[in-house]
């Protein structure tokens, strides 16, 4: 017989409630054709790539050191699809550097597909997507080297980053490269803010693909998480008030 795992029941109930709220709000947003707030960083991507193409300079992209199962890496890859498509359209040379060998295979496939879709297979060079190293600082040294040698017009580093993030960002800053960063690692976000021209903070990283798409379904999905946030705020407020008055029923419920 199937049974619920003890200690995870409340989490499952909360997950279902949040998913239902997100679904419902997304449905309303789609129906009313609601618009999302502007994310300035994402608005500039097209312009940067176009400028790189006009100047004959390359565009650099790295999804960080995370594996293929890391959400940040997947969000980075979603953005890579968009960047690759526009690089092909605007004739800007794209360079992608990877730390994880599995991510390397996926990025290679994505970039090749972007060239193939535009009918420019012959323009794809086998050194467009590069595997650097699985070692954190060997990867950082490799990426810093590429930034110094190739001097790209834009440096996109969107994905899972640890201590190497600041090294890469500072190397790009020294070369006066326009920088676009994005990660959910709150320890690294502060460094991204100080070294990047545009930074995707928190959930903006996961909404980038939907934001850049004209698909109304994808846009409505951006509104959905707000329902979850409202629910989280209400739960936090209720929990704080109940605990203040000595009632720990909500804490007990969460422990189920």
């Amino acid at each position: 017989m199937l049974e619920l795992v003890e200690g995870h029941i409340a989490q499952l109930a909360l997950l279902l409630i949040v998913l239902a709220a997100i679904y419902e709000l997304s449905r309303i947003a789609r129906k009313r054709q609601m618009k999302t707030r502007e994310i300035p960083g994402l608005e500039r991507i097209d312009g940067w790539i176009k400028q790189a193409g006009e100047l004959g300079r390359s565009v650099f992209f790295t999804p960080g050191t995370g594996g293929i199962t890391t959400p940040d890496t997947l969000a980075g890859l979603a953005l890579l699809g968009y960047v690759a498509k526009h690089c092909v359209e605007d004739d800007a040379r794209l360079i992608v550097a990877n730390s994880d060998p599995q991510v390397q295979q996926v990025t290679e496939d994505m970039v090749k597909s972007a060239y193939a879709k535009a009918g420019k297979e012959k323009e794809y060079s086998s050194d467009t997507v590069r595997y650097i190293s699985a070692r954190q600082f060997a990867y950082a040294a490799g990426v810093m080297g590429i930034l110094r040698r190739e001097k790209p017009a834009v440096n996109f580093f969107v994905g899972d980053f640890q201590a190497e993030a600041l090294q890469i960002a500072e190397a790009g800053r020294t070369e006066a490269i326009a920088q676009f960063g994005g990660t959910s690692n709150t320890d690294q976000l502060a460094f991204f803010m100080t070294t990047c021209d545009q930074t995707l903070i928190g959930e903006e990283l996961y909404t980038a693909q939907g934001y850049l798409s004209s698909d109304p379904e994808a846009t409505s999905n951006l509104v959905g998480p707000d329902a979850g946030k409202t629910l989280a705020i209400l739960l936090i407020l209720a929990g704080a008030l109940l605990l203040t008055f000595g009632n720990s029923i909500l804490v007990a419920l969460m422990g189920l």
């Binding site: 879709k117 090294q167 959930e203």
Partner: protein, 230 residues
């Protein structure tokens, strides 16, 4: 901006079904158990072991990519071709000695490789790994100290109200962290603790809640439709 909505090919549909099934299975295993029928947790761990096997194969493809990129560099006599030669020599040397003499050697019991060869290779591998690789790695890591200093200098320039607040908060935290300031005024330590425990934690939690919800929606979207080929 363009639409990413397109029809799936048959191959993509099959892959999408596999992605959905495995993703749904992994999510379910966290909440549901089937005692007496099947150990779902053990099945999910076994599947993860297969993932590790795939990763090992992917490493080989990664090495092929490195060789391909640097061979192109050498063939086309690009400005940095000499470094590419050096990289290929280092890569091959390290690989050969690691296969013979590292803790993950292929034949540690000298069943095929003669013991004299292993004895000869071991000190060379130790030198390459402990005296060169580890030290170079540490050197690159220590560069962070200088990068943090330059990033902090940039962040602490009081140009706007936000950066002035950041400067003030950063200074107070640093003053509270330094032991000598405790002798001057013990209040610095209390201020530091308050900044870290309240405004800082509140800000971080706000971001984390947003991230968790973003991951949730993103994962659900991926389970139902992966943007194949971007």
């Amino acid at each position: 901006m363009s639409s990413d909505k397109k029809k799936m090919t048959r191959g993509e549909l099959v892959l999408q079904i596999i992605i959905f099934s495995l993703g749904f299975f992994y999510a379910s295993v966290y909440y549901i158990a089937a005692p007496g029928i099947i150990d779902l947790q053990a099945v999910s761990e076994q599947l993860l072991a297969y993932l590790t096997a795939v990763l090992t194969a992917a490493f080989a493809i990664g090495v092929i990519n490195i060789l391909r990129v640097h061979t192109i560099n050498i063939k086309r006599r690009r400005a940095t071709w000499k470094y590419s030669v050096l990289l290929i020599i280092c890569l091959c040397t390290m690989a050969i000695f690691s296969v013979i003499a590292s803790p993950f050697a292929l034949d540690p019991d000298a069943a095929v490789i003669p013991a004299s060869v292993i004895a000869f290779a071991t000190p060379i591998w130790e030198f390459l790994y402990y005296k060169i690789l580890v030290n170079v790695n540490s050197s690159i890591f220590s560069l962070l100290a200088f990068f943090i200093a330059s990033a902090a200098y940039r962040a602490f320039k009081a140009r706007t109200l936000e950066s002035t607040l950041l400067l003030a908060a950063g200074l107070l935290v640093m003053l509270g962290q330094a032991p000598i300031t405790g002798l001057l005024w013990p209040g610095f330590s209390a201020i530091r603790e308050w900044i870290l425990a309240f405004p800082n934690t509140a800000g971080q939690r706000g971001i984390l809640i947003g991230i968790a919800l973003g991951v949730l929606v993103f994962s659900v979207r991926r389970l139902f439709r992966y943007p194949w080929g971007g």
